[in-house]
């Protein structure tokens, strides 16, 4: 059986308002095996979070519109499910860790109640049992079980994020979507949370989609990486492909803009120009206005994927020639 856990196929999601249309996601597609971790890396507004929400079936409508594409989770299309089916999957099969633990917990419920809630929603078990599992979950993420009667404001930021992770993992989901789980935390806590996620992933065999703009996080935790730019994946490959043998000019630019610990440089490199406005995207390759290698084709025609190595695909015309030669 060679069925993938998750197959995202060419999804297009726009936010349509009266005055304008925001082209948030334009044909993102990737697959995920069981137990595998993929990183979605990109700038703010590149469409990462929209992709994540669409996998949960949580695109707010209005204004969100799913134009085309499909997301197959265990062979079922999420876009075609009823609200009731979606509810039974959310939290149970697919769950999500939100960006900001400060706001992702309900301030007037104890953390124990909030973990219990998800357990009771998806399992038909008595309350006492749910309570027991709640305490187990808390202890698993490294919080003493007796603190389950405390309120969120009595926890530190890192602990809150661990509570959020405990909620996400309480029903032992097949897929965990982590939407910038470490962005709101400081660096030492980031490391703790990442270690914890790595450990839990190993224990539970959960597949994970890690959304981030922090390449360090990607290096630490991901098996494969997809670089997202203006609602498209511009390069996708294994962790090694991207970190060692990156091809796309945007990816190169991203890595060049990281400070180098060995060479003491005064200025950081940057990619010239700005992210295109998602309301008014350029024709052809979305990166062409900023690309140093652009040609006429780049400006006019949509760039397809070129496979530069097995599993390593790049959306750049530079590699078209090579493919022809190989053929």
């Amino acid at each position: 059986m060679d069925e993938k856990l998750l197959e995202v196929k060419d999804i297009n999601i726009h936010y349509v308002t009266e005055d304008e249309t925001v082209y948030a996601v334009n044909g993102i597609g990737f697959t995920l095996d069981e137990g595998e971790t993929i990183g979605l890396v990109g700038e703010t507004g590149a469409g990462k979070t929209t992709t994540a929400l669409s996998i949960m079936g949580l695109i707010p409508d209005p204004p969100g519109k799913i134009i085309s594409g499909s997301i197959m989770f265990k062979g079922q299309d999420i876009f075609k499910m009823s609200e009731k089916q979606l509810r039974s999957i959310r939290g149970d099969q697919i769950s999500m860790v939100f960006q900001d633990p400060m706001t992702a917990l309900n301030p007037v419920l104890t953390v124990g109640k909030q973990i219990e809630e998800v357990i009771l929603l998806h399992n038909d078990i008595p309350k006492a049992e749910a309570k027991k599992r709640t305490i187990e979950m808390l202890e698993m993420v490294g919080i003493p079980g007796k603190r389950c009667d405390d309120y969120p404001h009595q926890f530190s930021g890192g602990m809150k994020q661990r509570v959020v992770i405990a909620i996400a993992l309480a029903c032992n989901p097949k897929l965990l979507i982590a939407d910038e789980p470490t962005t709101a935390l400081d660096v030492t806590i980031q490391a703790q949370v990442l270690e914890l996620m790595k450990k839990l992933r190993k224990e539970y065999g959960t597949a994970m989609i890690m959304i981030t703009h922090d390449l360090g996080v990607v290096a630490k935790i991901c098996d494969r990486v997809a670089i997202v730019y203006a609602g498209e994946i511009v390069e996708i490959g294994s962790n090694k492909d991207i970190f060692v043998d990156r091809k796309h000019p945007y990816t190169m630019g991203l890595f060049n803009s990281l400070p180098d610990i060995e060479n003491d440089s005064k200025e950081l490199h940057m990619i010239k120009g700005l992210m295109p406005d998602p309301v008014d995207l350029p024709n052809g390759c979305k990166f062409n206005p900023r690309c140093p290698y652009k040609t006429e084709i780049c400006e006019n025609e949509k760039t397809p994927f070129y496979e530069v190595a097995p599993g390593h695909q790049v959306r750049c015309n530079k590699f078209a020639l090579r493919e022809v030669q190989n053929a």
Partner: protein
Amino acid sequence: MMAEKTSSKQQKESKRTQNNRVRNETWHRFKKNKLAVTGLIVLCIFIFAAIFADIIVPYGYDDQDPDRAMLFPNRKFIFGTDHLGRDVFSRLVYGSRYSLMIGFFAVGISVILGTIFGVIAAYYPKLDNIIMRIMDLFMSIPQMLLAICIITSLGPGLFNLMLAVGLSSTPQFARVVRASVLSTKEEEFVEAARAIGGNDLQIIIHHILPNSLAPLIVQATLAMARSIISVSALSFLGFGIEPPKPEWGAMLSAGRSYIRTQWYLTVIPGLAIMAVVYSLNVMGDGLRDCLDPRLKK
């Protein structure tokens, strides 16, 4: 087997102490607010008076005697007597039954209905315009007039009176709740609740309502005062409690004709209304503060 039994017993015990702990904490914080405690005590006295009116009062509320009419407060009649020779103290104590009941139930009706309408309007944007425009329609009619309309169509009676007062202040509650829910529903924890598969009802009851209640509590304590006063106005117009039943508002308006000579006939029921209203307000404030876990130290 034995061990299991004891452990479950222990669990129960620890749960009980935990619940007690939470309750104690809340009570402890409430106790610190002296004003709120005073309010609670005053309110308890009134409730006590209402329940045990039959035992407390020296005379019946309708014991008339022309010989002792218009007596100033003295040792025998501590709050004096009115124009029919009825003991004001007895009427005041009996009146607390009606006034408190009307206050609680009328506000109860408007809180419940207002919350339902407000939440639905805020949570389902498609219904928002329909519900809120209907509420606006009712708000455009002066509250007193609306209450009179309702009561004339339903007929007089205690229950209808409470319904009329409650219904006529529902739109205000709907507004307050809607505004509060609109801001709460954008919070990330609501999205998170949706992401764990919660249905609408659960999200509303567990996540949205508890976080939107603070303005409602304040509004409710204020409205309770208002509703006691509007019932007295209705009584004055002849739509309220029918005489000879004592009701503070009715007593107040009956005493108005004698305000130059027998001032106590208006001042005493007026003070009673004020005491209840004020203690409700301070208690409501205190309650809100001690129930909100975010303000916990």
